[in-house]
């Protein structure tokens, strides 16, 4: 038989002067290198009647059949990943196979393999842990999504992400304690593991199950309610993984090995600054500034000051809300944000700030008309401030609801209210200083110093966690702020203090009308930096990862 592969090779001409360029050895070899052997002529490729054997059982089925359930989940049941830790040895084939068989983007992975380790010399313990979406009984991603882009499939329990429904707000990736939904900048949406639902539907195993050389991953059927009940009752999930109580993950990790008590995740000491989310930084600071400024406008007795304060507040609100839409990967779908009202604080925030913007605009417009009844103006003012404060409350809840300690309610509320009333007071005093003939009131200056004293004190108190002996999330945040983010931390306090000094100078008699304005600008920058730290220094929970350097 003639060997097919030799067909493309031809003898090279011996070099001599009579050769043309096309005949030169280099050209011949480059041409040969640039030729792919066509399947028809050369390959003993399995060319096949694609249609004929499309229905045939996949070759790999002989190995994975026993790793997936024979029947579909019954009522109250769902599919779940089962990981036999004693068989997982860290080859990470599952990660790559998932990537290739699901056609993910080049840098996108839906699985990860981490480690947990502990014990003592002589009796050390190291365990590799493969992990993907846990298809939780009470999925935090789903609960947080403002546009209902997540569904828990009623038949299989698989938590599916509807890619075309997603608006790219990324709130799910803050909500998920397992770091599962991953945002794709190019697509403008998040994507995540769907347990290869379309494979399971056809009796094929998910990619990771198909590809695990040691059959460590399988699909099992669990009772969704009992998973939730056990999780709520303090049942164990996986040592050093986030507490299952929050979302009731369904993945079953099993091992016969004794796990030492000092076990910890391979990436326990990793200090990774998170995304800054600059649009959200702007949005949070400016909406809070706006709400507070409207409040001061409402109680102000000077009509001019009220008018200009409202205008300034409107401007801040406009920039803040515009920034927030620029945060979205697909802002055109944002109108659907009301869909999640029942469960999502983000949904509520969007709707309430939407209402706030309308009322606030009307309230601001009042300043341009003379014949508006005082009652109506008061009503609009109260509506503006009321809805605004409710919006700020929703903002706090958005972050509190992620269960990240750095964002817990008292601290976030303290920070956000501090911005609302402190920064807005600075803005108000600056407006007053510019448009009013009266001196800046002392009570306002003292209140300002008190507000910011408390707020900066609160922030500094978060830094003291750095001295804790255990690597808690609070300590991680503190270390981040003191180490890799120390320039931001120092600037934040620097701007804050200079801003306060400006107002203190006014308090002690300095007479420049611009001093409060300068002070406000410094405080504003300080608040923006505080909010950058708010996002970057949060310790995000995740499944145990591998050591990273």
């Amino acid at each position: 038989m003639r060997d097919a592969a030799s067909a493309n090779h031809q003898p090279l001409p011996i070099i001599n002067s009579s050769l043309t360029v096309e005949d030169s050895p280099i050209e011949i070899l480059l041409k040969e290198q640039g030729t792919l052997q066509t399947p028809v002529s050369v390959f003993s490729a399995q060319h096949a009647d694609a249609d004929a054997d499309a229905d045939a059982e996949p070759a790999q089925a002989q190995f994975y059949k026993q790793l997936i359930p024979l029947s579909k989940p019954g009522a109250g049941e769902q599919y779940a990943f089962k990981v036999d830790l004693d068989r997982c040895t860290g080859c990470k084939g599952c990660v790559s196979a998932c990537h290739s068989l699901n056609g993910l983007d080049e840098n996108e992975t839906w699985r990860d393999v981490g480690t947990i380790h502990g014990g003592l010399a002589g009796a050390s313990y190291t365990q590799t842990v493969t992990t993907a979406c846990h298809h939780c009984a009470d999925p935090a991603c789903l609960n947080g999504c403002p546009v209902l882009a997540y569904e828990k499939d009623p038949e299989t329990g698989i938590v599916r992400h509807l890619d075309d429904q997603c608006i790219g707000c990324q709130y799910c990736s803050l909500k998920c304690p397992y770091d599962v939904p991953k945002y794709s900048k190019s697509l403008g949406i998040v994507r995540k593991c769907d347990m290869c639902h379309s494979r399971l539907a056809e009796g094929e195993a998910p990619a990771c199950v198909q590809a695990c050389p040691t059959e460590a991953i399988s699909i099992t059927i669990v009772n969704t309610d009992s998973v939730a009940t056990i999780a709520r009752a303090g049942g164990s999930f996986l040592p050093s993984a986030p507490d299952p109580e929050y979302t009731a993950p369904t993945t079953q990790y099993v091992t016969k090995r004794e796990v030492p008590s000092n076990v910890e995740a391979g990436d326990r000491y990793a200090l990774r600054p998170e995304h800054a989310h600059f649009p959200l930084v702007l949005m949070l600071v400016l909406t809070q500034l706006s709400v507070g400024l409207y409040a001061y406008a409402l109680i102000s007795t000077d009509a001019a000051v009220t008018h200009y304060s409202r205008l300034a507040a409107l401007l801040a609100m406009g920039i803040g809300l515009a920034a927030s839409t620029s945060h979205l990967g697909r802002p055109l779908g944002a109108w659907r944000a009301f869909l999640g009202l029942r469960r999502s604080w983000l949904s509520r925030e969007i709707v309430i700030f939407g209402a706030f913007s309308a009322i606030a605009a009307a309230y601001t417009a009042v300043g341009f008309f003379d014949q508006v009844p005082v009652g109506l103006e008061l009503l609009l003012g109260a509506g503006t401030v009321g809805s605004g404060l409710l919006g700020v409350f929703c903002s706090v809840m958005i972050y509190h609801d992620t269960q990240r300690p750095f964002w817990n309610f008292p601290v976030s509320y303290g920070k956000f209210l501090g911005t609302t009333f402190g920064l807005a007071l600075a803005a108000y005093l600056a407006v007053l200083s510019l448009v009013s003939n009266e001196a800046v009131p002392m009570v306002g200056l003292i209140a300002l110093l008190v507000f910011f004293g408390l707020k900066l004190g609160l922030e500094v108190s978060q830094l003291t966690a750095a001295t804790q002996s255990d690597m808690t999330p609070a300590k991680k945040s503190a270390l981040l702020m003191l180490e890799s983010l120390k320039a931001i931390t120092a600037s934040r306090h620097g701007f804050g203090l200079v801003g306060l000094l400006c107002f203190a100078a006014v308090l002690f008699g300095a007479e420049s009308v611009w001093l409060p304005v300068v002070g406000f600008v410094f405080l504003l920058i300080g608040e923006l930096l505080e909010r950058v730290l708010f996002f970057k220094a949060v310790a995000a929970p995740k499944m145990p990862g591998a050591f990273t350097s």
């Binding site: 003993s44 490729a45 045939a56 050389p213 050591f547």
Partner: protein
């Protein structure tokens, strides 16, 4: 999409489908694949053996219009049964890297590398090397090859350099990985002959892994261990509690470099207990009595003492080895990369021989190979061996090669080559002035890197042939020749179990890159020796030459017809003779998994295996007061390969390993030195000082440190000690000091 439809699309309240959803939709693919992403649905598939490690997994490459769009693991191949490690799954990614060498590059008068035409590159190659040879003699130009290119290319490289260019000294990076096993087998069995088949993983009762971490270094071999239905004892002999040690039934965390004494102690105890197979010893081995006498000095108490292991535990292991069950020994770099690796490998071969654990299912003293074509290199690289396991010094061997290849016999050197380290030394002495690196990254992988960098300055001309222009070696080259990579060319690899498998061209090479095979053709023409290689026109043609070279040798493959034959059978293990009787039984499943020595006949002239032994020596650089830690090196993760020139090009693989160098430290040592987890530390040896991140792990015993070999800094620490027989560097142990880094 029209504006109207776009608006309509945006106005839907629930979007269960659409362009984004469509991206991940799967479709049945045929070809036995099951469902695949619709956007990558193939119109054909083709099987190709992976180009990373010596497991030799077959990958099913998904093609569209002849070009690879995706791949999956091949279910039907007897090696990997539908599995692959992450490197295999990601095998296509490194081909698309942005730093591919797409044009030859020559270092100009300004000292910078700049693109040149192939013509100018060939002028420089031949001009510079010929003038060096004219001035300093033919042996003043040398080459260092690889176990990463196909066998046909390896043979061509060795033949071109030695027969065509008059080069005398050439070696390969297999010196860094397999040389020890080669010499051990040669001395013990009479030929370099790993006796096993992967089926032995499944059929063994006792598997003893020594200096091997297959869980991450050879995950697909570990797959076969996990398929073992015989409830096997898995014994891991390794100072660290590796992933494999975790998965084992027994872990013996011996003191580093106490291994030879340990295995002599076990042999002594097996004899003492009368658990030897005397009939096998008498019929099939030589020198047992001398070995027995030698062992008198190495009883099990001594082994327990030097290894720090418990006597009873060792006694139990000796009884297990002599139990009559199927016992197999498996070793990798922990053995090969040792200053007394040959004797250590042979200490396991001795145990297998004396208990009759060879040539039967589930037995053997088995070297797990490193690179995809280490074995091809061992047989055909024409470096220290003349083509086809022959000897340069032998007149009859030279005549045979001349006869088979048509190369005039006077062109075949009558002296063997320097080994890798001797080539480096010869450069230092000024004896070698020109060096040609092919598909290897010496400026990262060679031991005691600072010394190598210094020696490189003595070279007049350094040519590096590689896929990338950014490797540590191409960066210091005078001339870069851009090479096609795995997937861009044809040929065969030979895996650890002697299986010859085909790898295929499924992508075009970028720019002006050429396959190594075609680069050799081009050089032959420009050098003016093309007429010698008229028959070497294609990999398929060279494969036929290799078959002829194998005739009558232990690895006779004259029974393999051609590439298609390899495809049909799922790879074929050597030997396969052309004679009809060697085809008997080959149709069966068993025929796919053949082991050597089933007849008890070894390759020495008398058919008997030898017991080889020698007194253990102290390690070359033991820890002392100034350098109190012993540094071990090895594989980091399964997603990393050697110097990372390829695995560093896959986003997925990069996510699966730490970016920068790190050192594993026992928590007790760390707390004594005030080292915090994830803190920066200095690791200092007599040869260099590097920074690394501290990882505190109880799996590393106190007094020892572990650094993966994949980071360029590691070899600034390692010490240039070598096994005297195999010349393999002893990467695994050197003395270092450890301190907190202030920066």
């Amino acid at each position: 999409m029209s504006p109207v439809n776009f608006i309509k699309d945006q106005m839907r309240i629930r979007c269960r489908d659409g362009v984004l959803t469509e991206r991940l939709v799967q479709a049945p693919a045929a070809f036995g694949l099951g469902r695949v992403p619709k956007s990558f649905k193939p119109d054909a598939t083709v099987d190709s053996v992976c180009g990373y490690c010596a497991t030799g997994c077959s990958l099913k490459v998904h093609l569209k219009d002849g070009a690879a769009v995706n791949l999956s693991a091949n279910t039907g191949y007897p090696v990997n049964l539908g599995m692959a490690c992450p490197k295999g799954w990601e095998a296509l990614a490194p081909l698309s890297a942005s730093d591919r060498a797409t044009s030859p590059m020559l270092r100009g008068a300004d000292g910078k590398l700049a693109p040149v035409s192939w013509h100018d590159a060939m002028d420089a190659f031949t001009g510079r090397f010929k003038s060096i040879q004219a001035e300093h003699g033919p042996a003043s130009v040398a080459f260092l090859g690889t176990g990463q290119i196909v066998t046909e290319e390896l043979a061509f490289l060795g033949a071109l350099a030695k027969f065509g260019m008059g080069v005398v000294h050439g070696d390969g990076n297999t010196r860094q990985c397999m040389a020890t096993a080669v010499v051990a087998y040669k001395q013990s069995f009479g030929f370099d002959s790993p006796p096993y088949t992967y089926q032995d993983f499944e059929e063994s009762d006792v598997l003893v892994f020594v200096g091997a971490n297959p869980c991450i270094a050879h995950p697909i071999m570990w797959q076969r261990v996990m398929r073992n239905q015989r409830n096997p004892e898995i014994v891991v002999v390794d100072p660290r509690k590796t992933e494999t040690a975790m998965a084992a039934t027994r872990h013996l965390p011996l003191a580093p470099k106490s291994d030879l004494a340990l295995f002599y102690g076990l042999a002594n105890r097996v004899i003492e207990l009368g658990l030897i197979d005397q009939a096998f010893i008498d019929a099939h081995t030589k020198d047992f009595d001398a070995f027995k006498a030698f062992l008198a000095d190495y009883n099990l108490n001594h082994a327990a003492e030097v290894s720090g292991l418990d006597y009873d535990e060792l006694d139990a292991l000796a009884r297990l080895i002599g139990s009559g069950k199927r016992v197999s020994f498996w070793w990798t770099m922990g053995v090969n990369q040792s200053y007394e690796g040959v004797r250590l490998a042979q200490s396991m071969i001795n145990l297998a021989l004396m208990t009759g654990n060879i040539g039967k299912p589930g037995t053997g003293a088995n070297s797990i190979t490193g690179q995809c074509n280490a074995m091809g290199s061992r047989l055909f690289s024409n470096t220290t061996n003349l083509l086809g396991g022959r000897v340069f010094e032998s007149t009859s061997d030279r005549a045979a090669v001349a006869e088979i290849t048509g190369i005039p016999v006077e062109r075949i050197p009558s002296e063997s080559s320097y080994a890798y380290d001797q080539i480096i030394d010869a450069i230092e002495r000024g004896e070698i002035k020109g060096l040609w690196l092919v598909a290897t990254n010496t400026a990262h992988s060679w031991i005691n890197q600072k010394r190598f960098r210094h020696i490189r300055e003595k070279l007049d001309f350094l040519v590096v042939q590689d896929m990338y222009h950014t490797t540590e070696s191409t960066e210091i080259a005078d001339l870069i020749l851009p090479a096609a990579g795995w997937g861009e060319k044809d040929g065969v690899f030979i895996n650890s179990e002697r299986r010859i498998g085909r790898t295929r061209k499924v992508r075009k090479a970028p720019g002006q890159a050429l396959s190594d095979f075609n680069i050799f053709r081009l050089i032959a023409h420009h050098w003016g020796c093309a007429d010698l290689f008229a028959e070497w026109s294609s990999p398929a043609a060279v494969f036929q030459i290799l078959k002829r070279l194998s005739a009558g040798q232990p690895f006779d493959i004259t029974g393999i017809e051609d590439y298609d034959h390899l495809d049909r059978e799922g790879g074929i293990q050597w030997p396969l003779l052309a004679s009809p009787e060697s085809q008997v039984g080959r149709e069966s499943e068993v025929g796919k998994h053949r082991r050597l020595f089933e007849d008890g006949r070894f390759y020495h002239a008398d058919g008997k295996a030898r017991f080889m032994f020698e007194a253990p020596r102290a390690m070359p650089e033991a820890p002392d007061a100034d350098f109190p830690f012993l540094l071990l090196t090895g594989r980091g993760t399964s997603s990393q390969w050697h110097t990372q020139t390829r695995t560093g090009k896959s986003d997925v693989l990069r996510k699966l390993y730490p970016k920068d160098a790190y050192v594993e430290i026992n928590p007790l040592d760390a707390s004594r030195l005030g080292i915090c987890p994830d803190g920066q530390v200095n690791v200092v040896s007599r040869r260099g000082a590097v920074q690394a991140k501290a990882v505190l792990l109880a799996s590393v015993p106190p007094g020892q440190l572990f650094m993966p070999m994949h980071y360029a800094s590691t070899n600034y620490l390692t010490a240039d000690a070598f096994d005297p027989y195999s010349r393999q560097p002893s990467y695994k142990a050197c003395a270092v000091a450890l301190s907190i880094s202030k920066s």
